[in-house]
Symmetry: C2
Subunit: 362 residues, 2 copies
């Protein structure tokens, strides 16, 4: 069957008329869908089904020339292995695919030169638009964003006056949700394991942590704050080992779930019981948080929702370049799980005590 | 700076001559690199650095027309959230980027119709080639593969006579490595938590498990074999819960790391100590295995190496379509960690015993 359909184009290529007739829609509607310019979900479904049935295969290069569109949308993120970006990528891919386009994924390693090189490269219009989530925003970024010849949507914090479509959350408020929860459950020696401070997320989370403690009148002990080299697992584990070597927290807020998984590992390896001795709260609320034992409480920053909205903003911008710059905000929320479930802190266990399975959610 | 470079093309676009002169290479060499057709690593480095310095931005669409190439390579996998595909994707992206191309990533959900539709869609040449890792291989796949108008490299098992470039490993042998290790460390009630049996990996791993037990003269107890709906975490956890409800293993071999993480969670939640009561061995040896507590032993199937080789085969095929079909095999290996570190099994703990931190690697 695959063989037959593949050969049809050579035998006499089905046209947009063939597809429109089979789908029972107008040629204009079929053409819009087949060119990835949109249509109602129902029309998109009918036309794409009809196109598959008749084996319609447009020539991408010829279509690019005609429409000056590539049918491609790019996503540039620091690390495609970070589950928060995987969840964002899944949401973006679903929206992009439903418009008949493909997603081009770039891993930048968070390197400014990589990110600005990608933005400059947009000048050759190899994609119809790009979604970028930079963990650092430099003047080069902003210049490249403003001058970009194709639409760019930024996921993350930007200067208020940046004339760029932007989807953001409030990670300062996200950190506050974690601190509020830990204070409310009786924790007082609340530590913070952050990522690099020369990043947008790092500075926002640091400010959020300090502001939240102050609001609760909990004195800040700098000994309880540790910074990792990356927003990644090994960095989180080693940063937590440094913190535990000098002080004794009864709770740890972690700047993302990968750092929280590293912190959990360091705590359990040191014989601390989680949550009885030390409560742990991560950030991003990825699948990873639910895979841990005990399951990790985590602050959701709406990565799936931010990805979906960013993709929708980009497709709207591609369809109508005259739209004014738009800014959407996705509010954070806290998922409380076993890692911070115990409400009365007890003295830290000795290095020989064993992690407990108490308080684990079913 | 970004602004200045962005405007250069408008002011007078740097040409391949500009780049070749700056890089100190021939125009032919610069052209090959800029068109993504290759060159020595040193030449690629010099030309791409020079291109960045002078702000060279080829027009992708014009270039596509001229070269009949899109500068894009596609990767189609079941689940971009599975860490084994993330590691494969990272390796592929590195090779593809070094050739000056971008990677287009597709998530198929393992659905045959999605995969064959993607393969059929290659008829419109929207990419220069595709790497696909199907978890099921149907006649439609094979027909589409053989008839594909652009090069396709398959990562995974294929019929011996399939005339397609192929990178594979030997997951049967991989399962045998896990069983050999568990038998050697005194385990006798060795269970197996598999993924769906109507998949290529599922059938190969099931056959490998049964053959390995037979080779050791360990009688097979069907009660110790459980199958999940997917190769994913929740499926692994619920399958292990079903297995534990009816029998009492002293070891579990899991068909991938996501299933192993689910199995570990189910064991610890049931009060089993890992590895003292039940040893756990996963498969794929992803980053996830090293994040767990205790760290998971896992069989590496060389996902990074398979990705790198598949990308190299594809680029060679794109450069020379006349090459005969090639087949490369990456051997499996076993990484032994804390989850199977204890060599003397003890009676399973009661549901109230707690997981232990003994035997954890530093």
């Amino acid at each position: 069957m695959g063989r037959k359909r593949l050969q049809e184009p050579a035998e006499g290529r089905p046209t947009v008329h063939t597809v429109a007739a089979r789908a029972g829609v107008s040629i204009a509607s079929a053409s819009r869908v087949l060119n990835g310019i949109g249509g109602s979900p129902e029309t998109i479904r009918k036309v794409r089904a009809a196109a598959a049935e008749v084996g319609y295969v447009p020539n991408a290069i010829a279509r690019s020339l005609q429409s000056q569109r590539t049918g491609l949308v790019a996503l540039a993120v620091e690390d495609i292995g970070n589950p928060v970006y995987v969840e964002m990528m899944r949401a973006i891919e679903a929206v992009v695919a439903s418009s008949g386009r493909q997603l081009v994924v770039h891993a930048t390693g968070g390197r400014i030169d990589n990110e600005t090189a990608l933005l400059r490269r947009l000048a050759n219009r190899y994609v119809d638009g790009m979604i970028v989530s930079p963990i650092r925003v430099t003047d080069d970024h902003l210049a490249a964003l403003v001058d970009s010849p194709v639409p760019v949507v930024v996921v993350g914090q930007l200067a208020e006056d940046a004339a760029v479509d932007n989807v953001r959350t409030d990670s300062r408020h996200g950190v506050a949700l974690a601190v509020d929860h830990l204070v409310a459950t009786g924790r007082r020696r609340i530590g913070f394991v952050n990522g690099p401070l020369d990043t947008v997320p790092g500075t926002a989370r640091d400010a959020g942590f300090r502001a939240a403690l102050a609001r609760h009148g909990v004195p800040l002990d700098e000994e309880l704050i540790e910074v990792g080299d990356y927003f990644q697992y090994v960095a989180g584990r080693t940063a937590t080992e440094r913190l535990l070597a000098r002080t004794d927290p009864d709770a740890l807020v972690c700047a993302n779930d990968l750092i929280a998984v590293g912190a959990l590992h360091a705590l359990l390896a040191a014989g601390r019981r989680v949550p009885q001795d030390v409560a742990v709260v991560g950030m991003d609320d990825t699948e990873l948080a639910r895979m841990m034992f005990p399951q990790l409480s985590s602050v959701s920053l709406g990565s799936t929702e931010r990805g979906r909205r960013a993709a929708e903003l980009l497709l709207q911008r591609i369809a109508d370049p005259t739209l004014p710059p738009r800014r959407e905000q996705v509010p954070p929320s806290l998922a409380i799980r076993a890692s911070s479930g115990a409400s009365i802190p007890r003295p830290a266990g000795s290095p020989t005590t064993h992690p407990s399975s108490e308080g684990v959610t079913a």
